[in-house]
Symmetry: C2
Subunit: 316 residues, 2 copies
């Protein structure tokens, strides 16, 4: 899809403010510039260190640690801060918002963000929550890159009876980065992400923690032999701690629901192992293989072998 | 380490028999030929289809479905069959074994394999269990490749008072493929692998099964948005079902022990989420990040971002 990455002739927004220049925020800044999706890019961050680094990297036309000043005159403001900080950031910037502006975010939880942000916004401002399904385990303004969102999903969860023209505009902005835009309601988003993202992260964090605590097997052996499966979990479990703490605190009910189901299934597996029920194990293991195939068929991953990563690279 | 892949001037074995030509067995055949680690390579498989395919691929000098005939005159025999099949295969081939031959395997469990294989072997045959920490989620003779074992660990678990010259010979064979050889006892191996490999696979199989059963979130949505974390689990959960059934049935005690610890830790995490204990979550999530760093520092993985796989490839 080469035309997805061609720069726009006319920017979607005149003036874009990005609040929080971590992995996602700095990637949006880079992508917006490359795609000509915003005429002027304003970077705002309450951390002086981050502001300094953003200036060094030349990621924005203006850089500020004053949120209300940074959003004034902007027709689009995107909050790229941990979910738990969205409410405070919204309160701080709200006085500066221009009537008719679009406010959005990139949080992995949508219901809690709506509840935290909406009350602070003046009438006439369009709040359209968003969630790019993209990221890496790295953090900070240096970790971002312009193609992070290419061929990735971007979920919008507009409020009922929201301004559809504003939603279309925000969708066009993300499509300029090569994102595929999907619209759903916030509650459904939180349930889908609880199973596809939040539960996997929780499980990965947990197993890495369990391994770290073992006394019989030294930690150095766990690291040494990690290529046998464990390694794949450590990648997820290296994701930003603040972001993920906030995700679990703010999508509690959906995560606990999915965790309950996971635990039930795990108890059944545990029982099958204890009682030597090979058929039960074989049936599950065959079923899961089919799901993997669907993911590859739908282009959400490649079929290249990954366990022996270095070896596989040299396969040809 | 370029000299690891230089072919040997003198083969380690005169005649090598590989029983079971799946991912691992066919990779050994390819690696042994490339490294000149065996003068004659004999492939044996009870499946006529696999034998036919091995002939087509030209992986061996001789191909047979008669195990006892295939091992006769061989100075090394490697069982590359699921752990649960090792006993029956050992019984079938034993009459053909030559005195002084080395018998080895590649199973992910060592204690149960020793118990299943040793009783069938005639005196004067050296049984040296082995486990290459390498593999992919693909199966069958076509899935193998010669560099699968390069820079990967190979664990040997020789019996007490075993023939050290035979162990050295088998170590030299694997080193010719670029493997790093480690020696430990079978019980310790089974504990280390329970945490670094068996538990991660069990958890991955389980979460993929849980996701497949959801009614509110359709399976197509799980697949669509899998890049947000879930995807990394499906790769592991696509591993060979027969092999993994046998692993869990044959390393029951160590797996149940590790699973018990995992469950305890997960209950504590669940409680932290339910009661909003953000500090407990943050502390765990910070600790796990450090382990990831150690794995990268020790060369067991690369630091390249992986979540947005396609995007990351285009980063530069």
């Amino acid at each position: 899809m080469p035309d997805q990455l061609r720069a726009l002739d006319v920017p979607v927004f005149e003036r874009l403010t990005i609040i929080g220049l971590g992995l996602i925020g700095s990637s949006i800044a880079r992508a917006a510039r490359r795609a000509n999706a915003a005429k002027i890019i304003v970077a705002a961050d309450i951390s002086p260190d981050v502001c300094a680094r953003v200036r060094e990297l030349g990621l924005a036309d203006e850089v500020s640690d004053d949120l209300a000043a940074a959003v004034s005159h902007s027709d689009c403001v995107i909050l790229c801060v941990p979910v738990g900080a969205c409410g405070a950031v919204a309160a701080a910037m709200a006085p500066g918002l221009k009537p008719g502006a679009i406010v959005s975010d990139v949080g992995s939880v949508k219901g809690a963000v709506v509840a935290a942000v909406q009350p602070h916004l003046p009438a006439g401002v369009h709040f359209i929550p968003a969630h790019p399904i993209a990221g890496t385990e790295h953090s900070g303004p240096d970790a971002g890159f312009a193609t992070l969102f290419k061929n990735r999903w971007l979920i919008l969860t507009p409020v009922e009876n929201g301004d559809s023209a504003a939603t279309e505009k925000l969708a066009a902005f993300w499509k300029a980065f090569g994102s595929n835009v999907e619209v759903m309601d916030a509650a459904h988003h939180d349930l889908v992400l609880a199973v596809t993202s939040h539960l996997p992260h929780l499980i990965a964090y947990n197993i890495v923690g369990t391994a770290a605590d073992l006394e019989e097997v030294t930690q150095s052996e766990v690291i040494k032999f990690s290529a046998s499966g464990f390694r794949d979990f450590t990648r997820i479990a290296a994701s930003d701690p603040t972001m993920w703490r906030d995700v679990f605190l703010n999508n509690r009910d959906a995560v606990l629901e999915m965790l309950g189901r996971f635990n039930e299934d795990l108890s059944a597996l545990q029982r099958a192992i204890r009682w030597g029920d090979g058929d039960a194990l074989f049936n599950l293991f065959s079923r899961t293989r089919a799901i993997r195939r669907s993911i590859i068929e739908q282009g959400q991953d490649t079929a290249a072998p990954d366990f022996g990563r270095h070896a596989a690279d040299e396969k040809k």
